[in-house]
Assembly symmetry: C2
Homo-oligomer: 525 residues x 2
């Protein structure tokens, strides 16, 4: 069977491919009938040239056209929901409901619509006007954006429909999306919906392009090409670092979401007050979706006492009772096995790892533990990310050791502290929170980190190696749009040559602008 075409320059056309691949149904281990191309550099090059032209055209389009595309794209995704859910389930083994149909797909269309609103309203660009000096500035499109989507969210983080995509488009940039090779059919359906939405909105045909798979070298060339404005990547640390090195060398912005173990600290008062409930929440957060979340709780810190052992027992019971689901791929299962092995080699004891089911890509849910002393002897290795349902309990002797452990943590997306409701943990909280705060993008109280609300106040980011820069978030509009903006200043530029956002007249009466030091929705007086 001939392979599916790629989407380049507004057309579905045959890839210039030396190789092809077939996705696998991870629930059964069976190869799916569809064949997809592994694109060579020639495809990347053609996509880059088309994107560069589209970027120039997009700069001349009104925000209404961009918003219309994003809105129509959301509509089209909803119209194609049945097929999208079927396809994503087949390729990822993620449950159709609620996960795919009722959680991830609505999240995805919600993001697209929020991005449309932000593009229309325009305040994301931080327009700033100094009428006395006639200097004006705002963020403007950075240029073509390459988006590498991850394996674990076939819609919401997809290179052709997810959060990075929505932010890049809303900021006025064309996107070259790399579908994830574990779910190329889902990417194809999304890209078809995007093409239809481009037709509905009059944007340049090459506003959205898609390739399925490329080799590492092409990926590195892509993110460092002179035609690219910026790139966004969600995935493993190894792959992310290779792209980061290539982009950094030539000063091309790249936003990465890489590894995170998402430390959870459970203080003694919380354990005494509601230990069983916390254990149930923790286990549920670890096990949900096979633990295949970037915000999966892979690390829990407990201060040793009888209740801490009981907590671990309670979590063990929950792990033992759960049937490991099919993971996203054999590769994920293998990676998880290797990480668990690395943790054990570094000194962690296996608390439990009940047998996995028989079919597909599975791995036992694994609970491990070490003492604080052991952790401090191997802090690097014992922070190995185990992508999947594996968590490490670190049982420290006292608060000093807790502080030492937290001070050895690398950057993470999230960090949680559970404390009692009556104030008995307040002293410990004050002591431990600063060390955790400095190392995570999002600090939670009394709540597991797994959910990432699409809120303007969200930070889905954090210090390296969770991401490449602690000032940016991948989720949360309008902040996520600014990653794909270039700061553009106009000095003494004539009024009619200014972008609408910087002219005296407020272009829509709603845009917030900093005019002569005052934040206002008014026009310049």
């Amino acid at each position: 069977m001939a392979e599916y075409p790629v989407l380049i320059g507004g057309k579905w056309r045959s890839a210039k491919a030396a190789k092809t691949f077939q996705p696998v149904n991870p629930a059964t281990g069976e190869r799916l009938p569809d064949t997809y191309p592994v694109s060579g550099w020639e495809d990347c090059d053609a996509a880059l040239s088309a994107a560069a032209d589209a970027a120039n055209e997009l700069r001349r389009m009104p925000p209404e056209a961009i918003a219309r595309f994003l809105t129509r794209f959301a509509d089209r995704i909803e119209e194609g929901k049945a097929a999208l859910v079927e396809q994503a389930h087949l390729e990822t083994a993620l449950p159709k409901s609620p996960r795919l149909a009722d959680v991830e797909l609505p999240r995805t269309t919600g993001q697209l619509r929020q991005a449309a609103d932000a593009a229309l309203e325009g305040s994301w660009a931080l327009p700033t006007i100094d009428t006395k000096n006639q200097i004006r500035s705002c963020f403007e499109p950075i240029g073509p954006v390459v988006v590498f989507g991850p394996n674990n969210f076939p819609y919401a983080f997809s290179g052709v429909a997810g959060g990075d995509f929505a932010a890049a488009i809303a900021a006025g940039n064309p996107v070259i999306g790399k579908a994830h090779p574990l779910h190329p059919g889902t990417g194809r359906l999304l890209a078809e919906a995007a093409v239809a939405a481009i037709g509905d909105s009059g944007l340049p045909a090459a506003t959205v392009q898609m390739i399925y798979k490329i080799d590492h070298q092409s990926g590195q060339r892509l993110v460092s090409d002179s035609r690219v404005g910026a790139s966004a990547f969600t995935g493993s640390r190894t792959a992310g670092m290779a792209l980061k090195n290539a982009a950094d060398a030539v000063g091309k912005p790249i936003y990465l979401e890489m590894s995170s173990i998402n430390p959870v600290v459970i203080l003694p008062g919380a354990l005494a007050e509601r230990g069983a409930k916390v254990a149930a929440d923790f286990a549920s957060s670890c096990l949900m979706g096979g633990g295949q979340f970037c915000t999966n709780a892979g690390f829990v810190l407990l201060i040793a006492d009888a209740r801490s052992d009981q907590f671990i027992d309670e979590v063990k019971t929950a792990f033992d009772a759960a049937q490991p689901p099919a993971l996203l791929s054999e590769g994920v299962a293998k990676g998880l096995a290797e990480s668990v092995k690395a943790l054990r080699n570094a000194g962690a004891d296996l608390v439990t790892a009940p047998g996995a089911g028989p079919n597909g890509a599975r791995h036992p849910n694994s609970l491990l533990r070490v003492t604080g002393k052991q952790f401090l002897a191997e802090p690097g290795k014992l922070q190995t990310e185990a992508f999947g349902s594996a968590s490490l309990c670190v049982v420290v002797r006292d608060v000093e050791e807790a502080e030492a452990v937290l001070s050895h943590l690398e950057g993470n997306l999230t960090g949680c502290i559970y404390s009692d409701t009556q104030g008995s943990d307040e002293g410990l909280y004050s002591r431990l929170a600063p060390a955790l705060r400095a190392r995570v993008g999002r600090l939670l109280n009394d709540k597991m980190p797994t959910g990432v609300a699409v809120s303007p106040a969200m930070n889905h980011g954090g210090p390296f190696p969770a991401t490449g820069h602690p000032g940016f978030t991948a989720v949360g509009i309008p902040a996520s749009l600014r990653r794909f903006g270039m700061l553009c200043c106009y000095d003494n530029v004539r009024q009619h040559r200014l972008p609408a956002a910087l002219r005296d007249q407020n272009p829509n009466g709603r845009m917030w602008r900093l005019i002569d030091g005052t934040m206002t929705q008014d026009s310049c007086s």
Copy 2:
């Protein structure tokens, strides 16, 4: 004579130095009597540890204390003005008046006071609150900041008093400043004023630390150390890239201001209308301060006609009439000679390079020219930055060639277009502006780029290699502060544990916050 001590951990103490150096008076070429240490890693290490402690203390200080320090520092600089002007003049040969006393020093104190206001007011941190989901976020201090100041602004970009310093402190971070070895005595006087201001304000003693000189390896270790939050560098591309590579490898933010040739495009209508005036402005911008500005106009594009040759003649006349001033150092003079040679080797003709004066570090003011065709044959080499008073005229055949030349430009801090006032250049402007806009941080009309106003709307930044990321500015408050912030999100965190900026109550009634999608100075309702 014993060398001066370094400022580490709040104390002036002997450096752990293997070497020393003596600055030179560039006006005479004579060695100054003062001896300064070249710090080894031990000094850097001690400074980092002290800075890490200071960073933790600073997080607990109210914005009022930070603002008081910045304000008192500005006062102290003014109080020490006579000595500062004397010292900087001795070490840089820059004129005492107006440059040092009446322009740069007031600019520096103005920046410090603007930063104080921004720290007090707090909107720079973009506080964002989602009351429904109980998610809140804002920028918080990123951690100790290392600032490498440049040779050409002894106060305004100084590592211990300049724009990066002010922004880093106002964002709540301690600074380790590297004084520039061409003007260590000026750095010393500034640091003494900072120490006094720390005493006035009650900030941690290690809020400001200073070393004079380090080797390359120590610099690279410094910017990539785990205790550092971020670094800022202003200087040469070679030095900047070495630091960037080291910081990037471990995901430490580094903000760089490197090379820029600041293209100026003069359209035919402007030449016809006011060519002599534009030539005078251009020559004056090129020659001012020995051309030792990052925004010096090093490149001018003209469309060939009789008036373009006349323009070059007029500029030549101005270059011939000007006496080359003493440059900042023998090194600058040598670098300029090498750059001019590189441009000539790449095909540029020397229009004029009248003899330099007899004493000190001098180099002839150099005007060069190439055709558009020549430029397009060697676009890389012909963009060699010549730091000092040298400019390259690129005379293109027509608008197509102009567009091609502009499309080959690397990233720059600024780009200017001169057009006539009656509209005859409008078509050419529309055609050429987009290519220039995409390659510069600040686009000017009918104005030379040399002045960089300290305005909230300023962008002193631009695409690589002008800087490392086109989204950030080194000048302009509040935007410059955000470079030294980490995005910190709080999810379900109890009210009393939140930073003041994110509590329900607006902490000062003036701070702008995005609450439930609405920009407001109100408290949460």
